[in-house]
C-alpha cells in the first residue's frame, strides 16, 4: 500500500535498540515531510524490566516534552490516528535491534552453492551460525543430530535444489531436521525457513508444520549460478520478528498497534539503501554503514539490488567480538597515541560489560574510534570479498551509529569512515546523527514520499564530498592540480601530493565547480570518469576533501611515525 503526499500523514517510528529506545516523529511542515524531533531514553528490553513498553512510554513522553504535541492519552496509550486537536499520529512503525544474537543452523546441498546462499541469507540478520549441514558433511546422521541439538538453534535456514532440480538430497536433509524438531521440547524447537527448490515446498511444509513453525521463501538459489536473497530476506525478517516476539517483552504488544509488522533494524536499514539506489545514480549505487553496539551493518545497493550484511561485532556489547576477526594490533594501529596492547584489550572487554559507557578521556575516545575504524574495515573487506564485482565507489554513503555521531568534531566522524571504508572516486558522506535511517526504511513500505523528502530536508548531516584518487606515484609526488571556482567568481588552487589528505575551503551548503587535472597517470574514479574534468560539488561540515593517501591505505609500520601521521591527518582536515 502506498500513501500519497495528499494524505499528509504524521508518522511515529519506535526504534528498540539494545542500548536506547528512540521515538522519532516525522510530519509535514510547509508541504514537505520533515524530521520533527526524537525522544531517546535507555532501553528497557533487558533486565530488570525485560519489557520494552516502559522505554517506549518514556521515549514518547520525552518526545512530547520537546515537541509540545500530545501523543498519548490520559491512560498513557498512543493516540492513533491523529485527532482534530492535533494530538496523536497517523501511523506507527517499529524497528528493533534488541535481543540476543540469534542462533542459526544452515542446511543446504553444495558448500559453495546453496549452502553459501543460506549462509548469505543468515548474514542479513543479527545472528550466529552455530552449525551447518551440507552434502559434503561426512558426519554420521546421529553425529549431525547431536551437534544440532547441542547448538540449541533458534532457527534453521534450509536451502537446496535449483528450481525443479534436486529433490532426494533435500528430502534427506528434511528427515534430519524433522528429527531435531521432534526431539526437542516444544519451546526449544527452532523455526524453519525453507528457501530451496519450490517443487518440494509443499512436502516440506507438511512434514514440519506439525512440529514447528515453517515458512516457505522463494528459492535463494534458483539456478546454480544465480543468487536471489531479496524476497527471502523479507520472509526471514518476519520469522525473526516471531522469535523476537517471544524473547522481547512488549514487542508483540507494540507490534499489534503498529501500521506495519515490526522489522529488524538491519532489514529496515537495507530497505532504505535499496530504495535510495533506485532514486540516485543507478550505476554508482548507495552504501549504508551502521556501527552499533552489538553489530555492524553494511548495506550496499546498486539499481535496486541489495547486498545486506549484519556482522556480529560492534563497539558496545559486541566490542570483544571484534577480536574474533582481527588481532589487537589491527585496532592499536589506528591510535594517535601510545596505548599498550593490554590496555586496549582490557578496554574492549570492559566495553562489552558496560556497552553504554561513554569515553571521558582523549585516550579512551581514540580507542573507541579505533574499534569503529576496524569494525568498518572488516565489514567492508568482507562485503567486497563476497561480491568481488563491487567496488567501494558509491554515491552517496550514509553512516549511522552513536560512535560516529558522538565525536569531538565532524572531522573525527569523516576520518573514521574514510579509514574504515577507503572509498575510491567521488563520494558524498552523510551522517545520521539522529538515528533516522532504519526508521525511514521501515516507513518506506507505506509511504515512499516521506523518506525522500526527509533526506532532502537536510535531516542527515552532510559531512562533505570526498575525492579519493588512485595513483601509483611515490609518496610526496604531486598527483593532482585542483582549481575550485566559487559561485561568487573567486577561486582557489591546490596541488595535491600522493600520501596527503587535503581539505578544500568550502562551507557547508556552499556550491563550487571543481576542476581537476590528474598528473602521473592518476585515476580519479576507476569505475567512472577515470581522467580529470570539471564538476559541481557542495560543501559539507568538513568542506570538500581530497584523500590522496592511497588505496589500500597503508600505515607506516614504525609506531611513532604512524601516530604522527594519524595526528597530522586530523589536523589537515581541521579536526
Amino acid at each position: 500500500m502506498t500513501t500519497s503526499i495528499v494524505d499528509a500523514e504524521s508518522v511515529l517510528v519506535i526504534d528498540l535498540g539494545s542500548i536506547n529506545t528512540r521515538a522519532i516523529l516525522f510530519d509535514i511542515v510547509d508541504g514537505q515531510y520533515h524530521f520533527i524531533s526524537a525522544g531517546v531514553v535507555p532501553s528497557t528490553a533487558n533486565a530488570p524490566y525485560r519489557d520494552v513498553s516502559e522505554g517506549i512510554h518514556l521515549a514518547v513522553k520525552k518526545l512530547q516534552e520537546t515537541t509540545g504535541r500530545a501523543l498519548v492519552d490520559t491512560d498513557g496509550r498512543l493516540v492513533i490516528p491523529c485527532q482534530s486537536d492535533g494530538s496523536g499520529v497517523d501511523r506507527l512503525a517499529v524497528t528493533y535491534s534488541a535481543g540476543p544474537q540469534l542462533r542459526i543452523v544452515t542446511a543446504g546441498l553444495l558448500a559453495d552453492v546453496s549452502l553459501e546462499s543460506a549462509r548469505n541469507l543468515a548474514a542479513s540478520v543479527h545472528g550466529k551460525i552455530v552449525d551447518s549441514i551440507g552434502l559434503n558433511d561426512h558426519r554420521r546422521l546421529e553425529v549431525q543430530l547431536d551437534s544440532i541439538l547441542q547448538a540449541e538453534p533458534d532457527m534453521i535456514i534450509m536451502a537446496g535444489g535449483t528450481e525443479n532440480g534436486a529433490g532426494r538430497s533435500v528430502l534427506k536433509m528434511l528427515e534430519l531436521i524433522t528429527l531435531v524438531c521432534r526431539m526437542l521440547p516444544q519451546e526449544k524447537r527452532p523455526a524453519v525457513i525453507f528457501a530451496g527448490n519450490r517443487a518440494l515446498a509443499k512436502k516440506i511444509k507438511e512434514s514440519l508444520e506439525k512440529w514447528t513453525t515453517i515458512q516457505i521463501a522463494p528459492n535463494i538459489r534458483p539456478t546454480i549460478d544465480s543468487e536471489d536473497l531479496g524476497p527471502a530476506q523479507e520472509i526471514l525478517a518476519q520469522a525473526v520478528t516471531q522469535i523476537r516476539n517471544a524473547q522481547i517483552g512488549g514487542l508483540q504488544s507494540i507490534g499489534s498497534i503498529s501500521s506495519l509488522t515490526p522489522i529488524p533494524t538491519g532489514q529496515a536499514f537495507g530497505r532504505i539503501i535499496r530504495f535510495l539506489s533506485q532514486v540516485y545514480d543507478p550505476a554508482r549505487g548507495v552504501l549504508g554503514v551502521d556501527v552499533g553496539s552489538s553489530s555492524t551493518i553494511m548495506a550496499a545497493a546498486v539499481a535496486g539490488k541489495l547486498k545486506l550484511n549484519v556482522f556480529p561485532f560492534g563497539v558496545g556489547s559486541g566490542a570483544s567480538q571484534i577480536l574474533q576477526g582481527c588481532s589487537i594490533a589491527d585496532i592499536v594501529r589506528w591510535l594517535p597515541m601510545h596505548v599498550p596492547d593490554a590496555v586496549v584489550r582490557d578496554y574492549l572487554y570492559q566495553k562489552s560489560l558496560y556497552p553504554a559507557m561513554i569515553p571521558m578521556t582523549s585516550e579512551t575516545l581514540s580507542i573507541e574510534q579505533s574499534m569503529a575504524r576496524q569494525s568498518i574495515r572488516m565489514a567492508a573487506q568482507n562485503i567486497l570479498a563476497r561480491w568481488p564485482s563491487m567496488s567501494m565507489s558509491f554515491e552517496p554513503i550514509l553512516a549511522s551509529g552513536a560512535i560516529l555521531s558522538q565525536t569531538a568534531s565532524p572531522v573525527q566522524s569523516l576520518l573514521m569512515l574514510l579509514d574504515g571504508l577507503q572509498p575510491v572516486g567521488i563520494t558524498s558522506f552523510f551522517l545520521d546523527q539522529n538515528g533516522l535511517i532504519a526508521g525511514l526504511g521501515s516507513v518506506s513500505q507505506i509511504n515512499s514520499v516521506l523518506p525522500v523528502q526527509v533526506l532532502e530536508s537536510g535531516a542527515l548531516l552532510n559531512l562533505g564530498t570526498v575525492i579519493s584518487p588512485i595513483s601509483q606515484a611515490r609518496y610526496g609526488t604531486p598527483i593532482l592540480q585542483v582549481r575550485m571556482e566559487y559561485e561568487d567568481g573567486n577561486e582557489t588552487r591546490a596541488e595535491v601530493r600522493q600520501g596527503s589528505i587535503v581539505s578544500l575551503p568550502l562551507r557547508a551548503g556552499q556550491n563550487a565547480h571543481i576542476h581537476i587535472n590528474p598528473l602521473r597517470r592518476t585515476i580519479i574514479n576507476p569505475h567512472g570518469q577515470r581522467g580529470g574534468g570539471s564538476f559541481k560539488i557542495t560543501g559539507g561540515v568538513c568542506g570538500a576533501v581530497i584523500d590522496a593517501r592511497g588505496r589500500p591505505l597503508i600505515l607506516p609500520p614504525d609506531a611513532a611515525r604512524r601516530r604522527d601521521l594519524i595526528k597530522k591527518w586530523t589536523i589537515m582536515l581541521g579536526g
Partner: protein, 350 residues
C-alpha cells in the same frame, strides 16, 4: 532518566529465582535450608544418539519387511547388549544395543536410541531458605545479609570462609600472598595481572576468589579454574571500590557464597557475593531513576570505580574534556571534588 542499579549492601533481604533451562524436577521444599552447592533441581539433558540400521546390519533385502523384526518400542529403556532386532529361524541373527539408553523412535528399519547422560543440575548459588517452589522449573531462594554484585564471573559457584589478602583496595594479587592456611577459603584480593597468582590459587586450592579487577588476558585461564572467580570491576587495572572493600573486610571469617554467574543483561543474572547474616534487612529496589543525593559509582577512566554523590543532573548536553557532548550529571567524589560525568557512565548503588 532510568538508572542502572548495582547492589553493594551491608545488609539486605536477598531473593533470587533459580530456574532450570527446561522443565525438570525440583528437589527441595518450601522452608528448606540449602547451601550454595546443594542441588535444588535437575532436568534431563540430551544424551548422545545413535541410529541402528536394522536392515543393513541383518542384511535384509529392500523388498522384505523389516520393522516386524524389531523387538523394541519407543520409550523402552534398554541396556548394553540387549537385543534390538532378531531374525526368525534356526540360525537367527541378532542386533544388540551398544550402550545403555532408551529407544526414541522406530520405523523404516531404523531404531533411534538415546544414551543416558547425567542430568543437568541446578545449584542453589548461595546459602538460604526456599521461599517458593516453581513447579518443574526451579525455586525462589531467600536469605538476609551482605550482597555485592560484580561485573564478570567464570560461571561457577561455591562457598567458604572469607579471608582478605588485600591490605589496600588497590593492591596487586600475587602468588606470595597465598599460603596453605587459605586452603578452602574464599579470598578477597586486589587486581590480578599475573597468571602465576591464579595458578597458585588453583594449587591450594581455594573455594573462591574475589578480585578487584583482572586482565582480559587471563579470561581463558580463569574459565578453566574449578572454583568461582568474580571480578568486581571487570577488566583493567582498577582498585576495589571503597564501599565494597569496607563491607568485605569487616565481614572476614564469615561463611561467604560466590555465585560467579556470567553477566547476562537479558536475564539480569550477575556475579554475586552473598554473606548470610543473622539480622533482617530490607528488600533493595531493582530499578530507579537518577536524582540528586544518590550514591553513584562511575564507569570509565579517569574515574573508574570512583564512588560519589549525584549533585545535579545537568540540563541538555554537557561537554567532556575530550570534546564529546552528552547528557551528564555533576558528581561529588569522596575527596569533595565535583566532576561532570555522563549519565551513561553512572550506576546507582542501592
Amino acid at each position: 532518566m532510568i538508572a542502572p542499579v548495582t547492589h553493594i549492601l551491608p545488609l539486605t533481604n536477598i531473593r533470587r529465582a533459580r530456574r532450570l533451562p527446561v522443565p525438570g524436577r525440583v528437589l527441595v521444599k518450601v522452608g528448606q535450608k540449602v547451601n550454595t552447592t546443594d542441588i535444588i533441581a535437575d532436568a534431563p539433558s540430551n544424551g548422545q544418539h545413535y541410529i541402528v540400521d536394522v536392515r543393513r546390519v541383518l542384511g535384509i533385502p529392500r523388498n522384505e519387511k523389516v520393522d516386524q523384526l524389531i523387538q523394541r518400542k519407543p520409550g523402552e529403556r534398554i541396556q548394553k547388549g540387549d537385543v534390538i532386532a532378531e531374525t526368525s529361524g534356526m540360525f537367527s541373527r541378532v542386533v544388540r544395543s551398544q550402550a545403555d539408553g532408551s529407544v526414541l523412535m522406530v520405523g523404516g528399519g531404523l531404531v533411534l536410541i538415546e544414551t543416558q547422560n547425567p542430568p543437568f543440575v541446578l545449584k542453589a548459588g548461595f546459602s538460604g531458605v526456599v521461599s517458593e517452589v516453581l513447579p518443574e522449573r526451579g525455586v525462589i531462594l531467600e536469605t538476609q545479609g551482605v550482597l555485592i554484585q560484580g561485573a564478570w564471573g567464570n560461571n561457577r559457584v561455591d562457598q567458604g570462609v572469607l579471608l582478605s589478602l588485600a591490605h589496600t583496595p588497590g593492591e596487586e594479587f600475587v602468588r606470595t600472598q597465598l599460603d596453605v592456611s587459605m586452603r578452602g577459603a574464599v579470598v578477597l584480593a586486589g587486581y590480578c595481572f599475573q597468571a602465576d597468582a591464579l595458578q597458585a590459587a588453583a594449587e591450594l586450592p581455594l573455594r573462591g576468589l574475589i578480585l578487584g579487577s583482572m586482565s582480559a588476558d587471563l579470561i581463558s585461564l580463569v574459565n578453566k579454574l574449578n572454583f568461582p572467580v568474580i571480578s568486581l570491576a571487570g577488566f583493567g587495572h582498577m582498585p576495589i571500590d571503597s564501599d565494597v572493600y569496607k563491607i568485605l573486610t569487616t565481614n572476614e571469617k564469615r561463611d561467604t557464597s560466590l555465585n560467579a554467574a556470567v553477566w547476562n543483561p537479558q536475564t539480569g543474572d550477575r556475579p554475586e557475593v552473598i554473606i548470610p547474616l543473622p539480622s533482617v534487612g530490607n528488600v533493595a529496589p531493582e530499578t530507579d531513576i537518577f536524582k540528586p543525593g544518590q550514591t553513584v559509582r562511575i564507569q570509565g577512566a579517569p574515574y573508574n570505580e570512583f564512588i560519589g554523590v549525584l549533585v545535579q543532573i545537568k540540563p541538555g548536553l554537557s561537554g567532556l574534556a575530550n570534546g564529546v557532548r552528552t547528557p551528564a550529571a555533576l558528581v561529588q567524589l569522596e575527596n569533595e571534588e565535583q566532576v561532570t560525568i555522563p549519565l551513561a557512565n553512572l550506576e546507582v548503588l542501592e
